[in-house]
């Protein structure tokens, strides 16, 4: 993760690797969630964290055709990859915004991966994590910051 962020931030050229997307401006961002700059969201309920990818992310990916889910009980670490989203055009890692243990996975995605596109914040959730350290949430960004972050990314090209 660190390496990709570094590239992202430091290499002017890296922006050319990205798809230049017409800024659509209507990717929705939900107020009460926390976000990672690798485009995952997390919804906290006590010690439980539900994780998915953002509307912005699914919009960039296009039609999701397969979601590779971890096994229940797997340990995940903040910023570490726990699965993958496959769209028609590409494969993308999904990184966990928090560390802990996977307690539930969205089995619906096995038969309906398109829920990630149609309902990224609700029916398209990916895993639920029992958090080791709620303090990690402080390193995530809020909706306003994430919105700004996406705008900056889109305008780089």
């Amino acid at each position: 993760m660190a390496s990709s962020r570094l590239l992202w931030a430091s290499s002017r050229a890296a922006s050319y690797l990205r798809i230049s997307v017409f800024h659509r401006g209507f990717s929705s961002i939900i107020k009460d969630l926390k976000y990672a700059d690798s485009h995952e969201w997390v919804k906290v309920d006590g010690n439980s964290a539900t994780v998915g990818i953002t509307d912005h992310a699914q919009d960039h990916l296009g039609d999701v055709v397969y979601v590779e889910l971890p096994e229940v009980g797997t340990s995940v670490s903040q910023g570490g990859s726990f699965g993958a989203v496959e769209s028609v055009k590409a494969t993308s890692d999904i990184n966990s915004p928090v560390s802990g243990k996977v307690v539930e996975v969205n089995e619906e995605l096995n038969s309906s991966p398109g829920l990630v596109n149609s309902s990224p914040y609700d029916k398209g959730w990916i895993i639920k994590v029992e958090m080791n350290d709620a303090g990690e949430l402080k390193s995530l960004i809020d909706a306003d910051q994430y919105s700004k972050f996406c705008e900056e990314e889109d305008s780089k090209h």
């Binding site: 990709s4 050319y16 017409f22 485009h39 960039h60 993958a84 028609v88 055009k89």
Partner: protein
């Protein structure tokens, strides 16, 4: 780090890259990042919502507002228009251009009828593929070639090197690289109707090339007086200035030819396209510009590649979209990749590389009969030996479960022994399942053979299948 979202563009570039993959990735990181070439349609793409990505040194649309899934399906259902101007068109001219080219490719160029072409492979001394390319014999002293954008530099260097030594020995061949032209690919099953509308409109165009008219007219004398004109053809008269047009015709042919000339020409143009079967070529006026029209494409659908003077390219693209009433849609490289994969067609740089022979790549059919007997092309020794003894590996198609198998996924037999590798793969929008192509050891290549395909450390069931995955609809004589 395999690939977060940031890597999306890169992974697409990788999957679609036609040149040496490492070279491509590095090039964009480094100096050329800011120097991407633009086709004359660049602004048109952006205005139509094109998402531009670096591809083989060009800034090209990966998709427009439609998703890749929608675009792929629409191409098969209604039609697609692609800007493929990044590809390099060139003409070889001179009385020895055929013997010259036959040293470099596996096709029986001498045996091609004038005005027809074929897919071929430029080979190296070891029998490997330098590039795959569509070549057309325009006339005995004129060959038209379109090579991949990612291979342009090496192909041109290769051709030029051989041309120098050929001409130094007295051979008569020269080339012209068509950088003044742009290339549009129109893929659509009821295509000739659409293109006919555009050509018909242009035939009535005031600024028509009279030399072209003369040629068509002379060829059409038996059609004069033909009353079998549809109302559509007559309606088309309203596109242009039939009066002025007729006057021009009259001044050439005399009064009796005048009144019928325009409808006859329209009728004939339609006839021409109906007889322009897959692989055939014609130079003609489309939408007021002299175009090279080849009935070909790389999606498995019927269609044309239209080489148009660059200053007329945007107008032609607009005319095609307008005439189709929104059915033919601008389509980007993302869907183009899905389409060619569904059609079982190789992407150079993925499915064919310097070390892969045409026999291994399943392109044995492209080696002309005479060439098999005579050889005389680079690497012929190895290729002819493979024809006799069979190649060590073969390109095959796969269906698989689980995540789509992408390039470089390992292929194992049922016992887990390695037998090959995927070279490109993805989710088929038309079949709604994973398809892939790759190479396996000869003997294990039969359709129906069960395999295990490794994706991110896990293995998934797959089986070898025949290609194309989606039946092709090339326009051939019935």
């Amino acid at each position: 780090m395999r690939g977060g979202l940031w890597q999306l563009g890169q992974s697409i570039t990788r999957r679609l890259a036609q040149a040496d993959k490492k070279g491509v990735a590095r090039r964009y990181f480094a100096s050329e990042a800011g120097n991407l070439k633009k086709t004359v349609l660049y602004d048109f793409h952006v205005a139509n919502g094109g998402k531009m990505v670096p591809f083989a040194g060009w800034s090209m649309p990966i998709q427009y507002k439609d998703s890749i899934m929608e675009s792929t399906l629409n191409c098969r259902e209604n039609g697609s228009l692609f800007d493929v101007s990044h590809m390099c068109g060139l003409s070889l001219k001179g009385k020895d251009c055929i013997p010259f080219l036959e040293k470099l490719v596996i096709a029986d160029v001498a045996g091609l009828a004038p005005g027809s072409g074929t897919l071929t492979v430029f080979t190296n001394e070891k029998g490997g593929a330098i590039d795959d390319s569509v070549i057309t014999k325009v006339k005995d002293d004129h060959i038209y070639i379109v090579v991949n954008a990612g291979c342009r530099d090496k192909d041109l260097a290769h051709i030029e090197g051989h041309m120098k030594s050929f001409t130094s020995k007295g051979g008569d061949v020269s080339w012209h690289i068509h950088d003044e032209r742009s290339l549009l690919a129109l893929q659509i099953w009821h295509m000739s109707i659409l293109l006919d509308l555009i050509i018909s409109a242009s035939v009535c165009h005031f600024g028509l090339n009279l030399g072209f008219l003369l040629e068509v007219f002379m060829n059409s004398s038996e059609m004069i007086g033909c009353s079998n004109m549809s109302s559509r053809n007559v309606d088309n008269l309203h596109y242009g200035h039939p009066g002025a047009f007729s006057n021009k015709i009259c001044s050439i042919y005399g009064n009796e030819a005048g009144p019928l000339a325009a409808p006859v020409l329209q009728f004939l143009t339609k006839e021409d396209l109906n007889k322009l079967y897959f692989g055939l070529f014609k130079i003609l006026d489309i939408n007021g510009a002299i175009c090279f029209l080849t009935r070909t494409g790389y999606t498995g659908e019927d269609g044309f590649e239209i080489s148009v003077p660059s200053e007329n390219a945007v107008d032609l693209a607009k005319a095609i979209l307008e005439k189709s009433e929104g059915k033919v849609r601008l389509t980007g490289l993302g869907a183009r990749d899905s389409l060619r994969l569904e059609a079982g067609l190789c992407l150079y740089g993925n499915d064919m590389e310097q070390h892969v022979t045409p026999v291994e790549a399943g392109l044995t059919w492209a080696i002309g009969k005479r060439r098999r007997a005579e050889g005389g092309f680079l690497g012929a020794e190895k290729i002819l030996k493979q024809l006799e003894e069979g190649p060590p590996v073969r390109r095959v198609g796969f269906f698989s479960s689980g995540p789509p198998a992408r390039s470089h996924s390992k292929v194992h037999d049922e016992k887990g022994n390695p037998i090959g590798e995927i070279t490109s793969g993805g989710f088929s929008p038309c079949l709604k399942k994973n398809i892939a192509m790759g190479y396996v050891k000869s003997g294990l290549h039969k359709a129906g053979t069960k395999v295990k395909i490794e994706v991110r450390g896990k293995t998934y069931d797959g089986n070898i299948t025949k290609m194309p995955f989606v039946p092709t609809k090339y326009y051939k004589p019935s």
